[in-house]
Symmetry: C2
Subunit: 173 residues, 2 copies
């Protein structure tokens, strides 16, 4: 067996090491802040944000799972916990009795409004404020190029409004 692997050159390796380190550290930072402030994982926060941004603040479980890169079992467990906390509500879809719809409650909207400032502050502190406007555009292009391989259907990035506007309860209510 011949080894025709194209090993990484110095520049490739250096960039890759840094990217791996970044993907290793970033989730922990996001989880930590949100858990401390509002007892929410970043995944739960993202799911609530997706619901808040959706028409009627409601999504099908399957659609929400695709949007958050979750398997359906995972989302089902998370949804049960969020429902027990009164942050979302689940009810059968009227048009397809197999399906379940999830709606974020006012309490849920309130919680993400409470969480958002701290979250945005964290994002700025650890990422955005470290980058020049030029680098921000470069990051947008680079991440877009990579996501073209990782997420060709753009399930995760088919996003509605994020933080560009005011409180979610006004935005989505």
């Amino acid at each position: 067996m011949t080894d025709d692997t194209r090993w990484l050159d110095t520049e490739e390796s250096a960039a890759w090491v840094r990217l791996v380190a970044l993907t290793e550290l970033l989730p922990g930072v996001l989880d930590q802040q949100l858990l401390q402030d509002v007892q929410l994982t970043h995944f739960e926060y993202a799911a609530l944000m997706a619901l808040a941004s959706a028409p009627d603040r409601t999504m099908r479980m399957t659609a929400l799972a695709a949007r958050t890169n979750a398997t359906l079992p995972r989302l089902s467990h998370v949804a049960r916990r969020l429902e027990e906390r009164g942050l979302i509500r689940r009810f059968p879809c009227p048009t397809d009795r197999r399906a379940t719809n999830a709606t974020i409650t006012d309490a849920g909207l309130g919680l993400i409004d409470e969480a958002a400032p701290g979250h945005v502050e964290t994002v700025r502190q650890y990422v955005l404020d470290a980058l020049s406007p030029e680098q921000l555009r470069q990051l947008y292009e680079i991440a877009g190029a990579v996501l073209g391989r990782l997420d060709p259907d753009e399930r995760l990035t088919a996003t509605a409004c994020q933080f560009s506007e005011g409180p979610a309860i006004a935005r989505a209510g």
Copy 2:
């Protein structure tokens, strides 16, 4: 309470969404390939690589934990599993009887040599090949800037040789 949060503008939000999506998807891709090929998580692979690159193929548990961004309990569990598979060996440090040293075995070196080509291929396929040389340099700078905030002590990036050279068993043996 006045809301003096600096919300994200359109460009910031777009770049951030893509970065989050990337950090969400990349670990899964890396784990999947390595688990399928050699029953190793990416974390385990990184730990073995760190040992292979270390002098005498040996590191203190604490040093290895810092290098891989693991807590000591986590590393302890992982090391036990790797030792049970014969991929590493642990023995008390002769100079400090509190400490434990971990050494990668020949079997361990063989396994990462077996895993490396597929791993590098995955890295190319999903990341590096999507980027121009210019973008590769930009990524290096951007990730470096962010890591300056996330990892100011450069624990994760104080890395020895990665993929720039031949098989680990030749490189480290």
